[in-house]
Symmetry: D2
Subunit: 247 residues, 4 copies
């Protein structure tokens, strides 16, 4: 069952913010800080922590993950620096029931590629185009109370083809001023875990300060939270003893 | 958002129970009565009412439907007696966001056929076979806390091909002692509304007294409840004024 | 198995072309004529016929449908004039295996609404915006050899939310100069039949003279053709005699 | 477009057949030999070759894969001996458009796990139960001309939960004499490639000599063959130059 109090971990590589002044100016507390601050008021009483690449085990120890209902993931410049061991640990927890929300350039993270089984490549250009995020799943919990469309004044352009498996649910489609379209919000189930990918958000633009983006992410956290018992996804070779006599 | 207090209406044609003594012996309060009594303790504080074919407007007035989060539907002998006007009314509410759970022989109800767009036919025989209901969606809220498999000692056999659109989510698959299989639990979205079909349950067998069936139905009610604002599904011809200037 | 020689029927209400001079100027042979002429060279040897609303039984007799592998459907001004009996006949053939391609304003045709189970409503405005049709399913037979994107210089704008069940396969997404997006190519299976909806095409613009649109429609015909035996979709109440002894 | 002449490679680890006499007695030409011989007459003129683990690069060189439309994969005892480099090569070709059919215990092969993103675990016991394979997708090309159900007199039992992503298309469901059910035929798209998993088939039973199994596999080959241009699935970082001026 849903926990009384959601436990959320916002992970960010935190590289741009600590090495580029113009990014630090946009996100003085890091993108993880902006996201955590933005969703907190919308998730009454949730326990929200952050973790970054530079921490031991990237801040994603067995204990932290076991104590996390939903993990958010932002990465870009340092995908290759994420330890394979941590990726496998995160994957194991997702398959066991932990929710994961993958953000923007996280499409190329090891964990997302592992969960999808495809290249996860896409088309892009960075001209600060206006992005319009359209709701194609009214009634879906992730779109509850979200404006149609969300208007993001400036954002990097992502375009199709986005090489992911067909989503279980397509939630948002974006258009950009240059005419491109992108499946910008989509969900998949993997094992017992729920995966939500949401593309708006880039280090150069203040997208994670946008109230509507906060609303989507908070809704996403609630949607991705485990709905049943968390289990260990160890591969099960045990003989199935459920043989029944014919009546 | 989810209502504080779920409002549930259990609809039953209530024909077998009122015309056949051996059925009335199994369901002295009607199948609707057994279902309502079974799910109530699992839906803390939900407001659960029943309605039947014999009532004016089959008990499904505009007011009742507007005040219903999730409607359960059992029909068999009298599908043809359900007024088209009431069927259209129910459909309108489903498309606007009301959840609906269609039970067993309800696969041939007017409302289910209208929502599916197919014949909804299936194979069947009635030999009181044992049915095993297997969970193929662990982690799905409808399977939360449900035994694997659910063992139903005697039940009518339903078999494939079940002529419905590919489910959005396949939740349960049943086998029968005679070797048949059936997609016995499946979900679809239609408009803003959620549809859950669950096949176990027949007037001749005490399936709706089975605690595990109560658990599935209570979970189904929670799952099918509206997750966003209910709307009027009137066909919208209004010009879309959302034109944006290029940045 | 696929027929050696595909049999295609292009149906058009043919009202705008016969009552409005400026439409007749764009489509002197009717939209059905333009479509038939456009796809013929791409479907080597296919037998392509047309049918219109004004013909007896709208040209869609039992014999014509039994002799049709794929039916294309364009309607707009006269949806209400299509006889319910013909709609049910078409539906029966689709469920039995005949393919159907529903075009543009056909989203509000009786047959499409019946097959979908939803309102099929959408947002629209008509300002002659440029439409870009993006391929989100490379490798799908419907997109084989199609340019990315298809550029349609002027077209009516269709926008989300498009109230249809989640497609089995999403093939194209369009953007419009005004910033709207639309799921412009999508497929569903209903019974044994395949359904393809493709939105580009409007009576006021020469979209059905566009070579890339011809390519999509020809691919669609090949995709929607029956892949197995056509059957009568009569509701089957026959007892299933497939009971097996336990080994 | 489909090739005139399909090029098929049947891969088998070929370990049981070469190390256990009772298996060699069932499959004197190896399971790959039985499969190749069985499907050849049904794929008029297809070029069918075999490859095994013991060959250099397991017989799956860049050249062989580039010249293969559909690869069939049987593995069990030696999943761990398949070189990671070959697995990545196969994956690259699948994402680029090559079809793959994964057989029985191949559910635990490296390539299947990589493509699925889940554990691919399942329940099992080996008591030689009768398996009934039911068609839940009549009209699907994979089920064309296939008996309902396929009766396999003796086979290893596979049971749910089968930990794979929800299939794009569920084609077959099996029941076993002991009451278990299993999603025994399912499809997914990954990149431009099509994946078909079919569970019947075990080294101890003559399942790959069964004419109906030959029919399913031949249909599967035709279905999984590329329907568009094969591409290199290299991750694309190129700037998208498709910017359009507003009309």
């Amino acid at each position: 069952m849903t926990h009384q109090r959601l436990r959320v971990t916002v992970w960010n590589e935190n590289v741009h913010e600590t090495t580029e002044d113009h990014i630090a100016a946009v996100y003085p507390e890091g993108m993880h800080g902006a996201i955590a601050a933005g969703i907190a008021p919308l998730l009454d009483g949730a326990e929200i922590r952050t973790a970054t690449l530079a921490e031991p085990e990237h801040g994603l120890t067995e204990e932290v993950l076991a104590d996390t209902d939903v993990l958010l993931w932002w990465g870009h410049a340092a995908h290759g620096d994420v330890a394979d061991e941590v990726v496998e640990r995160v994957k194991r927890h997702v398959l066991g029931g932990m929710g994961i929300i993958v953000l923007h350039s996280g499409h190329f993270s090891k964990i997302f590629i592992e969960l999808m089984g495809t290249t996860c490549s896409l088309q892009w250009r960075d001209d600060g185009d206006r992005e319009l995020v359209w709701n194609v799943a009214p009634g879906h919990p992730i779109t509850d109370g979200v404006e149609v469309p969300i208007v993001i004044d400036e954002q990097e352009t992502y375009g199709e083809f986005f090489d992911v498996p067909a989503p279980d649910e397509l939630v948002f489609i974006s258009s950009f001023a240059g005419g491109e379209v992108f499946r910008s919000g989509a969900t998949w189930r993997r094992g017992r875990g729920k995966v939500f990918y949401f593309s708006p958000g880039d280090q150069r633009y203040p997208v994670y300060h946008h109230p509507q983006v906060h609303r989507v992410l908070a809704n996403g956290v609630r949607w991705a939270a485990p709905t049943g018992e968390r289990v260990t996804p160890e591969v099960v070779h045990a003989t199935n003893e459920r043989r029944y006599e014919r009546v």
